[in-house]
Symmetry: C2
Subunit: 204 residues, 2 copies
Amino acid sequence: MKKIIPRKTIQRLLLYYRYLLFLLQQGTKNISSTSFADILEISAAQLRKDLSYFGKFGTQGAGYDVLALRDEIAKILGIDKERKVCIVGLGNLGLALLGYKGFASLGFVVTAIFDNSPQKIGRKIKGFACYDIKELIPVVKNNKIEIALLTVPSEAAQEVARRMEDAGIKAILNFTPVKLSLSKKIKINNVDLAAELKTLSYFL
Amino acid sequence: MKKIIPRKTIQRLLLYYRYLLFLLQQGTKNISSTSFADILEISAAQLRKDLSYFGKFGTQGAGYDVLALRDEIAKILGIDKERKVCIVGLGNLGLALLGYKGFASLGFVVTAIFDNSPQKIGRKIKGFACYDIKELIPVVKNNKIEIALLTVPSEAAQEVARRMEDAGIKAILNFTPVKLSLSKKIKINNVDLAAELKTLSYFL
DNA sequence: AGGCGGTTGTGAATTATTTCACTATTATAA
DNA sequence: TTATAATAGTGAAATAATTCACAACCGCCT
Ligand SMILES: NC(=O)c1ccc[n+]([C@@H]2O[C@H](COP(=O)([O-])OP(=O)(O)OC[C@H]3O[C@@H](n4cnc5c(N)ncnc54)[C@H](O)[C@@H]3O)[C@@H](O)[C@H]2O)c1
Ligand SMILES: NC(=O)c1ccc[n+]([C@@H]2O[C@H](COP(=O)([O-])OP(=O)(O)OC[C@H]3O[C@@H](n4cnc5c(N)ncnc54)[C@H](O)[C@@H]3O)[C@@H](O)[C@H]2O)c1
């Protein structure tokens, strides 16, 4: 069972989780890999293989218990465990993310928000007190924040990211189109919306 | 030139393009695959292979002409060609995307915006007149809009997407965590921010 | 209890993507 | 002019991800 788990498998796990919630609401108690895969428009083999990385959750001849599978996936993904995040850069995108309720149900707790604009520092924004970016290091350290959402203008991205590193941030979700150069220890996930759109249009 | 081009190759092409712009600004006229790949933190073979799907752009012994390569990639990606997009759902995320300047330089022109809230319909938002979602079909058809950014609440996503299909939209960038069921003809790209964040934290 | 239809879990096969490693070509130094 | 070093392009090999296909099993029916 000791295997390396594809990143894409983890991504799909959340997809499974969401649909299990939905099935539960509908009162579905049990589902087979084939019908679940049909709903998700993936192959049944992929669904089963994904789950097989973590154990055996189904019953041959009968399928999966929806409730039990939901709980197993929640456990795998650590949905119950809280992760502290901060948002750095409260412009268009930062504010949108701050306003998003969907993160909380996955265990992400916005613990601090930062900007460098005097118009924002010290003010309450959507219920959160905005810190000066200069306070990033102490605030992150004191609150043991692990994850940062980076939504500053591209020009500032590298410098702010470096500061995050110094503050002990473990992972960055980077929304800027900048390739961040940091220590290999820090996990970086790039969300490149422009690339998504361009890729989509290329294949039109 | 090979037949099928990996989706990831296209995604990287935009990365290359951005760094070529940057190199140009710096006055770099010429670059080898190895040094360019070093900057991008990918392998030189991958860079060369990606380009090889489209032709021969370099000079053996000398490397690539930065300006020429930029132009070639711009041509491949159709950066000069305009694509009309609309944004549907002007909440947190829709407004952020509307305020983003980065799309324009890649050839995307926001041509219409839609919502269903009386507070938004008819009003000017960031310089754009907001249409009633009920007018989606005629407005999209009349303006020949090809691409839609879907940022409505999850509950409304499927129904609005269906309407986009009827309107003749060719591609949807879907920001909702809903798996859209539409005809296979319509291209869908899902941007699942919650999944990105969860994946990142899983691998912490 | 035994047989049957249905379904999982998984090694093997397949397909997709990345990297290797070598050839051909070019720039340039002597 | 020729030799040498650098470097693109690419088929082949290696890796990674997905799909296939089937043995093993479960629940139910008689
Ligand atoms: N808005 C979008 O839809 C969108 C889409 C794709 C990518 N992006 C990228 O996301 C990033 C942010 O975009 P945006 O539209 O929200 O920009 P924005 O200009 O609206 O917001 C940036 C915010 O960061 C703050 N800031 C600037 N320098 C800072 C610093 N050194 N430290 C802390 N805060 C700082 C600014 O005060 C501002 O509030 C950009 O890199 C952009 O390319 C945005
Ligand atoms: N905000 C984020 O950071 C974020 C992050 C990840 C995913 N998402 C997803 O993006 C979607 C939008 O999120 P949001 O935070 O912007 O929501 P929001 O509630 O702020 O905005 C939704 C907008 O859509 C409009 N709307 C509702 N029904 C409509 C309909 N039938 N037709 C047209 N417009 C309609 C509303 O009037 C509102 O303006 C959601 O599915 C959410 O899960 C948002």
